[in-house]
Symmetry: D2
Subunit: 99 residues, 4 copies
């Protein structure tokens, strides 16, 4: 069970807007009902089996190419904790409880 943030950015398209690509990337996530995910202003956070997450991100990475981009920069940050079950909700609560 891992928590992974990813952001997928086309480089060199003629527009600074990337929301079209982000929305199309989220279409891929419909193929992964076992993965929890959350859109944030800076990326998409996924929660679930790490291999499944990598598989989903590899497909999401292709989406800008399928939509005309010729270069894509994808950032992936994995937080994988095995001493206890790391969840998005649990991470938030453990900080909020201490604020």
């Amino acid at each position: 069970m891992a928590i992974v943030e990813t952001s997928i950015t086309p480089i060199g398209t003629g527009t600074p807007s990337v929301s079209k690509y982000v929305a199309k990337c989220h279409e891929v996530l419909k193929e992964y009902p076992d993965l929890e995910y959350q859109l944030t202003p800076m990326g998409t956070i996924l929660e679930g089996d790490l291999s499944k997450i990598f598989e989903a991100i590899e497909k999401m990475h292709e989406v800008p190419f399928d939509n005309g981009a010729s270069r894509v920069s994808t950032l992936i940050k994995v937080d994988d904790r095995r001493d206890k079950k790391g969840t998005m909700e649990g991470k938030m609560r453990s900080v909020l409880d201490k604020l």
Copy 2:
């Protein structure tokens, strides 16, 4: 006006838990009432004047050292858009409208 995500991680403490440090980092943000911010499961997203954000992150970066850490890894991702006013809320809406 920029949107910046940061995560600040102590390296080599004797515990895999970092929520204590994250909560103390958020104390710093009370000194920056002009900055909007949002906690996510993978970091803290800040919105506002970029120089002010860098100043706040530099102070947040010190917090784990002040609390016993001897090594800190800080990741900062800046999204700075100047053709229009980029806000956290605006970025979310522009994707959600296309889902």
Copy 3:
């Protein structure tokens, strides 16, 4: 053909040193003779087939767990260019030629 930088960091091991883990991660790369790679002060840069790279990084990500860590933070940055063959050497030369 993609170029991918990764850094794999154990969290909470009780020592700020991570070089032992980095060196053991590089052992994994011996299983991937088709991948070019370069160690830098901030990570390891890999060049080759993106699926092979993801496969190698997924194995590298396990190494700290195999060596006693209970939490691992792995950062992966993919630069995937398809209008021309992106290589580590070509990227360096295209900047150095302009300095």
Copy 4:
């Protein structure tokens, strides 16, 4: 004394090539003779006083805007070790010695 990797990427420029911007970013570094730096295929690694590094990166971040970009994504990864003097060369050697 910190070691910081940064990559500065213009978004939406109409060309997938970014080397022109990277080279112009390196011009900024001539104003910082106290900072060591190393170009890699995935970014520029700086070594020195963290405040000076942040100052330099803030200026480098402006370069694509000065050259026509309207959106810039800047990634910054700080490795700050205070139990011993962390240098680029020392980090490399401590891994290479264990390979």
